[in-house]
Symmetry: C2
Subunit: 347 residues, 2 copies
């Protein structure tokens, strides 16, 4: 990787002259947290319809760990690999033909990569305004997990008032977002979690908390909610896949957003047929830009107001300075967090 | 089972007096085709909102074979078990509060059971008028397979013009309906079938015909349609399940309507996630009445006109008189049919 590289709109160009530079984590190698080294690269510049964001915080996601290990590359395939899926900060510059944003506006959002950096470029209509009720330094804990949980539960799963959601890893970032969203829209929610995190899930408002292992969560779930789950949100897969089909209600939906427990699953498809289950696999990262924008615009209309009304709040487990982002990764891999691990790019 | 039994609206009552009687196949035992014996039972009578149909034809479905063997009971759990999922005939009597039908109207439809009989009772809004372009004696070959194929491909799978469907068992009743529906709406369709049935599938209009076994249909499919299938309609399951995920396009849908190849499947869920596949399990038979009615009304509006315009036609393989219905079952189990096996209840 050369320091004389500038990219915009995904294309990489070389410049001989002086270009503005930013600090960013660039992955020259894949492996343990030690590969997360900060160096200087050229600022990205906004193209038509894009804005540049002065990033104040980024936050960690499980996908970042996989990307660091070389198992989940940036789908955009850029030459300089900067990880990081979400950002919060202020609008630093507007590309041509941008409306609706002014320099200095508080902004947050998700990208397919590039957010472990002082500056990121995004489509103006994919960026989310930071709700005024949320502290600027906490906003970065919103985009990835609330977009993921809301998209999975409500947009794809069809969760509504009165219905039951079952969400695995209730104390994770996505889990803590899911609990709050379900309550805010009048739905009921059960979560699975490891034993030490049960109280945190209850405190967030989970109606039912099921310890996952070695306990038999499925039996406890059946006792608690005999009618089954209208929507199951699963980040685990593997051996949970068939249990999810058992846990689903008639006409229920299983939304698979992760495979932390493994991709290989043995399932009894008789459950799929007799219950008329819909099993949806999904990721945000690989979607085409028009669908990311559509989701962002719906989120602004339907979810941002829930933050303004205090019905939702970001859940932050811990904060790390940019220079210690490797420690933040190690901490995420220890599975001790409840909610988001935030990285402050600026002091 | 007593001959003094009369049922209406799913309830069974005993009558001492003379009640009208009909011939019907009653399953006193489960097993081979020999358990399909015709006897006399009381006529069913239409309740509020229902019509009685003088059945002229019924037709065979794979589910009938499973029910005969005791593996797929009538979900209504009636005391007298009369199999048979579809009928065609004329309206014989109207229950209270029925509008839109007159005695003598040509009618066809599906039921959760009871159609191997001279008379069947159905909800007036679940019954379908026979398209005038279809010969009365052939109409029975429409309801189950065209409702199933259209519901799976279009209503649940979202198949539209320009998109690709992949349908297993292209020469089956559902397959022959699927080929015609896909062509009628401007979609493209590939089918798998056994070697001897390929020409029949081509004659019906399949764009691509793939021999299923021992040939490697997946490799041939990838060569033919590199972009993948927007909708996969599968009646097989088992070892085809993971191949279906491989065959699906990005954002594709797999609709599982049967498990003739077995319910147990080992699948790589990574395919589900990375392609954002939706995998839907479904059956018509167990749905609540309001959803059956909604589907019927939509079928009348969207599919019956395609029969009137000659774009769809029932595909009949063979006809058996009522007294030889056991032979019809044996023939279905030989897997030799292309299209529907019809049973004439009246001569």
């Amino acid at each position: 990787m050369s320091a004389d590289q500038l990219w915009s709109n995904g294309t990489l160009a070389r410049h001989a002259g002086n270009v503005p530079r930013m600090r960013a984590v660039v992955l020259d190698d894949h492996g343990g947290p030690e590969v997360l080294t900060i160096c200087e690269v050229a600022d990205p510049e906004p193209g038509v319809g894009e804005i540049a964001v002065a990033v104040e915080q980024t936050a960690l996601n499980r996908a970042d760990v996989l990307q660091r290990m070389g198992m989940y590359p940036d789908p955009r395939g850029r030459e300089v690999e900067i990880p990081g899926l979400e950002y919060a900060g202020t609008v630093a510059a507007l590309g041509p033909e941008v409306t609706g944003w002014s320099v200095g506006d508080r902004v947050m959002g998700i990208e397919a990569g590039g957010c472990y950096a002082e500056r990121v470029v995004t489509h103006a209509r994919q960026a989310l305004p930071v709700p005024s009720a949320v502290a600027a330094g906490d906003a970065v804990a919103i985009p990835e997990v609330f977009l993921t949980a809301w998209d999975a539960l409500v947009v794809q799963g069809g969760l509504t008032s009165g219905r039951w959601a079952l969400v695995h890893a209730g104390a994770s970032g996505v889990g803590t977002a899911a609990i709050q969203i379900a309550r805010a829209i009048g739905a009921r929610i059960a979560v699975t979690c490891s034993a030490g995190k049960a109280q945190a899930c209850r405190d967030l408002g989970a109606d039912v908390v099921l310890e996952r292992s070695p306990a038999d969560w499925l039996a406890a779930w059946r006792d608690a909610v005999p009618g089954g789950a209208d929507v199951v949100l699963d980040v685990i897969g593997g051996e949970e896949a068939e249990r999810n089909l058992h846990a689903a209600a008639i006409d229920g939906t299983v939304v698979q957003v992760g495979l932390m427990g493994g991709a290989n699953a043995s399932v009894n498809l008789g459950l799929l047929l007799t219950k008329r289950v819909t099993w949806i696999g999904t990721t945000l990262r690989s979607r085409p830009i028009e669908r990311k924008i559509a989701l962002a615009q719906r989120f602004i209309a339907e979810v941002n107001p829930l933050f303004e009304r205090g019905l939702l709040r970001p859940v932050i487990d811990s904060r790390y300075p940019f220079e210690r982002i490797g420690e933040a990764h190690s901490y995420m891999e220890s599975n001790a967090n409840v909610g988001k691990i935030v990285v402050d790019i600026v002091d």
